[in-house]
């Protein structure tokens, strides 16, 4: 398909980009284009102007900031996957980013673009939510921190205000004793997750001290599996883990589409949470 007419600007700085966005309420930010361009081509979106921030150096790169890792919004998935800082500090992010679409898309698509798009079927929103990441927004007024729990508002809707750009994400380093896993269930390698489960797990003396679980594609936004998190606290690694994961889908409202009905997604959430928890705990 062919997109409708739009203007294109490539600002030289984040400040310029914010200005361009503030001056035109129908303008959209263009990052890697891997989600936006299909929408344009299908004529599901008619932005007046694309503000291309994809090459702004100040939005790119991974930075070790002591207690947390900062990933610039325009860092590509591929750069995230290969970053030693991410692999060491936030292995869950590297694991999940490696499952995004295919190699070509991972070289174009950006970490921040994927989060700002706020597609609950994307892999990274659930991961950032599970890790209690903090999203950093910039506008002409300055910078503000948005906790992941407040960032994802609805389907394809974030709490970024008009004129705001996602600058990057702060991801806490969880330190020793934590295990991680991203369990993605999809029909073909390039397809979106029917359900995905991101788990960060702290072990202590053969039991689970703490579990943080983010669910992909189990509602209009990424969600935490709070009931399972609570049930897992203090559970010894072994047979009881499965039972503790039975509440994984509690409180979710999974979508219905060609690939799965809600009841099947709820079932998958339980099974996959169990598998992800076992994998994160190092169990075979």
């Amino acid at each position: 398909m062919i997109p409708a007419r739009f203007d294109y600007v490539r600002p030289g700085s984040v400040a310029e980009a914010c200005q361009a966005l503030a001056s035109d309420e129908d303008a959209k930010v263009l990052a890697g284009g891997q989600s936006l361009l299909p929408l344009l081509r299908l004529r599901l979106a008619y932005p007046s102007t694309l503000v291309d921030v994809g090459r702004l150096p100040e939005l790119k790169g991974v930075h070790d900031r002591g207690d947390h890792v900062f990933i610039g919004a325009m860092t590509t998935h591929d750069e995230v996957v290969r970053s030693p800082v991410v692999r060491d500090g936030c292995p869950l992010v590297a694991l999940a980013a490696a499952t995004v679409a295919d190699r070509a898309i991972r070289h174009r698509g950006t970490f921040g673009g994927s989060l700002a798009h706020a597609d609950p079927a994307g892999d990274l929103p659930a991961v950032v939510l599970a890790l209690d990441g903090v999203l950093v927004a910039r506008s002409e007024e300055g910078e503000r921190d948005i906790p992941a729990a407040d960032f994802f508002v609805d389907y394809l809707e974030s709490s970024l205000a008009p004129g705001e750009i996602l600058a990057g994400v702060k991801l806490p380093k969880l330190g020793a004793g934590w295990g991680f896993h991203y369990e993605k269930f999809h029909r073909t390698a390039q397809a979106w997750a029917i359900v995905g489960v991101a788990v960060a797990l702290k072990r202590s003396n053969g039991a689970i001290a703490e579990a943080r679980i983010g669910l992909t594609n189990m509602g209009p936004t990424p969600v935490r599996a709070r009931a399972a998190e609570a049930a897992l606290r203090g559970v010894e690694l072994g047979d009881q883990v499965r039972q503790a994961c039975e509440g994984a889908a509690e409180g979710t409202s999974p979508p219905s589409d060609l690939h799965a009905q809600p009841d099947y997604r709820r079932h998958l959430a339980q099974v996959l949470t169990h598998r992800a928890v076992r994998a994160a705990s190092g169990s075979p």
């Binding site: 062919i2 029909r187 073909t188 029917i194 690939h259 099974v271």
Partner: protein
Amino acid sequence: MTVEQEIGRPRRRKEDARLLTGRTRWTDNLSRAGMLHVMFLRSPMAHARITRVDVSGARELPGVVAAFSGQDFAAEQGSLPCAWPVSEDIVIPDHPPMAVSEVRYVGEAVACVVATDRYRAADALEAIDVEYDPLPAVLDMTEALMDGSPKVHEAGNRAFHVKIESGDVKAAFRDAPVVIDRTYVQQRLIPSAMEPRAVLADTDGDSFTMWSATQIPHILRVMLAVVTGIPEHKIRVIAPDVGGGFGSKLQVTAEEVLCLLLARKLGRPVKWTESRSEGNLTVHHGRDQIQHIRLAADADGRLRGLQVDLLADMGAYLMLVTPGIPMLGASMFNGIYKMDAYEFGCTGVFTTKMPTDAYRGAGRPEATFAIERVMDELAAELRMDPVEVRRRNWIRHDEFPYTTISGLTYDSGNYEAATDRALALFGYDKLRAEQADRRDRGDPVQLGIGVSTYTEMCGLAPSRMLGEARYAAGGWEHASVRMLPTGKVEVVTGTSPHGQGHVTAWSQIVADALGVPFEDVTVLHGDTAIAHKGMDTYGSRSLAVGAIAVVKACDKVREKARKLAAHLLECSPDDLEFEGGAFQVRGTDQRRTIQELAYASFTAHDVPDGVEARLDSDATFDPENYSFPHGTHLCAAEVDTETGMVRIRSYVAVDDVGTVVNPLIVEGQVHGGIAQGIAQALFEEAVYDAEGNLLTTTMADYLLPSAADLPDFQLDRTESPATSNPLGVKGVGETGTIASTPAVVNAVVDALRPRGIHDIQMPCTPERVWRSLEGERR
């Protein structure tokens, strides 16, 4: 001089350097001075009367040269052709390229815009105003045939009914110890060629040239003349390099006809290229049958009789060979098996969906699926091994030629050899042991083993048989072989490759036939002004029919060269032997090479009286019989009973495609074919909603597997040459697709049979597998 035989050599393809490095021009890359771009406004309604079309808004927009409704073309656009009226009483509805008064599927063209670029054309589509008066959609074949169903066409929803009987079916079923009765659904598929359809039409005012991403430039030319009334000799059709077809480009499309008419009306070149979503809506779809199959057998597994009753979804109209597709399967439901009686019935049904037509295998995958699935069901019923039940019924290798219950004569084959080889490669007994172990342990991941022993009819087709089947054309193929003055060879073929590698394979064949180097042969094709006669490429016909015409033309070249050589060497033609590209007088060192003779015919200084000074020759080959590749495919599938996910663990294919000209090309065809068959088993399905909207318009919804989703295939071959052609070749374009779908589904069902499951509707998605298990758990 001894020359290594070319036939059988794994030659890399001559085409690939050009195709893989982008040094070719696909239809969409072509540009003509003053070229315009057309885009079509398509119906959003499955079924409606068109009450008003107003294109005036579009005409006013910048860059727009013209905009038309169907009404504007009503007098000249004709009706898209159906060349296969399978029965006397078949209903062939009028099929205007652009709808005039009624739309019958979502995606049907209702208006078009011609503009200076595609962007402006696309924008202008939004300025066209169409008013519809909705009519009820007709989506379910069974309901469509009920009294009182809304009608797709005035004449009703039944396009045709055909019944074929052979042997005493009643007797075969009477008192039969075992009767298996099943209904299978062949889901609707969307052919997904890598290159989208594209058309460019140009005119010099009097005559017309069309470039199209088509499999059938020759048939297209005839049909364009018939549909539009433009004289055939004023139309030239060119199929440049074409990026795949799988049957989807075996069609005369609305867009082709309209580009031609627009070029005539506007006097300028007009181009159209579809988008992928537009293609999902409007490339003809494949499969879509409901198959009721009944099998009668003795207690020892011997087959007595087979009854097949099909409902075949035609979609909204009959396109080029739409009604013929299920009929191509009519003689294939009996597979490789002997039986006493067979009955086949087929009803073609109109629905308000995109028309169906040829898709890789075309009727034969559907038939093979049904018989191979039901053979597994018979084995299960009798508690026999599925290989054993096949062994008891198949035609033994010493029984060829064998005339089957459906009337075809299979000329050659060796099912025992292919099966034994496949079982050994697969490690059948070891996998059965693992399966038993997993069952005993209650492993959440169960193992299933699927068998498919298939044959197919290839090499379309003996013209007389096509005549008997009421097909409007013949099945011959044409070739010319030209000897150039320098001894190089130019081959003109009537086949129209779109990925098959004919240039390479034909070069190998000619190299052997004339004793010339492989590199010295070039092959021309796909342009009706160059390859003036041809029946094009589909139905695994190119090698088994088209290449045989090349062989026959080479025979003629050799005979002409022999006469010239005898004259120059002052001997009798009978004293000459041809070897290594030269004629030599027996027992002497006197010889003339084919290149010397080509030059001698060019100078013509010393050509005998009454002999034409050329070696160039033409031949047309019309096969006497189809060819019958066969093989045994085995699939091991792991089924995760907790999630329903199916993973193919190993896959073995032992195919017998007769003589192999180029093993690399054969393996490529088998790989792609198996992938496409697995795709039907596990991934692909065109889905319409209750209002008749296609839901699978993008690749996010219509899932195509990639290499990452498929196992390594273990391939091997047996070789029983075909007896119906001098090369012994059978064709390989469709075998993998035909064989693999039932192998995979048989494996999935085999894994779950202890849970009381004996069928899973294709595609066997994780959700469907899980729901089947849930149904059993309840």
